[in-house]
């Protein structure tokens, strides 16, 4: 099948595709380049936005998102850094407007108790269930006592074994 497709025209197209594929990293680099004006501000902004959630694309951080919204918030953070605000002030600014949801590291308070303690509670419940299950099972497979007859038989087998080894 595949050799059929590789007539001259196909080959040309593939070559073209390959060239395009090789070129594409270059074009991305061009797009991403001119953002950082002040590397210090940029570094702080990135460190801050790593821990902030982009609300439009909820599984991305503000640092990693290409959404327009994330772009705006990054601009806002950058400007506030320039104004000399502290990291905590900037985070408070965003939480005031977007709520704890914007934080990847939410504070411990009544509404987030379940979030923080839940996993450990489940772990404890699981461990408890495992413990009782194992205990129950041990009771179930406890060795039944041997009858006198079986006991004698076992003893004679053991003796025989010893005799052979010696």
């Amino acid at each position: 099948m595949i050799p059929d497709l590789l007539n001259t025209r196909g080959r040309k197209q593939i070559t073209l595709l390959l060239i395009l594929a090789l070129m594409s990293p270059l074009s991305w680099a061009k797009e991403a380049a001119p953002v950082a004006e002040d590397p210090v501000i940029e570094k702080r902004m990135l460190a801050l936005s790593e821990d902030l959630r982009c609300l439009v694309c909820q599984n991305e951080s503000l640092a990693g998102s290409r959404a327009d919204f994330a772009n705006d918030l990054r601009r806002e953070i950058r400007e506030q850094i320039k104004e000399g605000k502290k990291d905590q002030e900037i985070i408070d600014f965003l939480v005031e407007r977007y709520g704890d949801f914007v934080l990847y590291n939410p504070p411990i308070k009544p509404t987030t108790y379940l979030l923080w303690i839940g996993p450990f509670a489940f772990l404890l419940i699981g461990a408890g269930i495992l413990f009782f299950y194992l205990k129950m099972r041990r009771r179930q497979i406890e060795e039944p006592p041997l009858t006198a007859d079986q006991h004698r038989h076992a003893e004679s087998l053991l003796k025989e074994d010893k005799g052979n080894n010696a």
Partner: protein, 173 residues
Amino acid sequence: MRFLLPLAAFIVLVGFLAVGLGLKPREIPSPLVGKPAPVFQSPRLHEPDQILSSKDNLGKVWLLNVWASWCVSCREEHPLLVELSKSGIVPIYGLNYKDKPELALQWLGQYGDPYTVSVVDPEGRIGIDYGVYGVPETYVIDKNGVIRHKQIGPVTIESLENKILPLIKELQG
């Protein structure tokens, strides 16, 4: 007993999943509800040389609707807003979010203009103050300038009838 336990566990799991399906992760409760609406002063869309201050609206109940000509779901809610504005129940102020004025005006010309006044927010700065993250969004603001409700996403007949209109009536009363 042998099948009962897995069955019970399965039913519990299905219960959790069913609840999970009903949740709307895109609707993030706004911390601004119950707080004073952020004050803005911004040029009007129709008369860019005139500034509207949100303080001018103190003393009346009003809606702030965040919209843009590029916003597809805005088109969905727009006929409802036009109808609401015709009823005269409540003034609707528009926040034209990250839009180009000429496109915004053209859009209003095409679909109708329900807004008492629209102000422009070309860089989304007022939007950030209001915690806007998805357009359209609609805020109900009371006579004291306090945000009483935030509707995320398009206004629907249900949300109007069940929440927004009763709330406006209560606030106006």
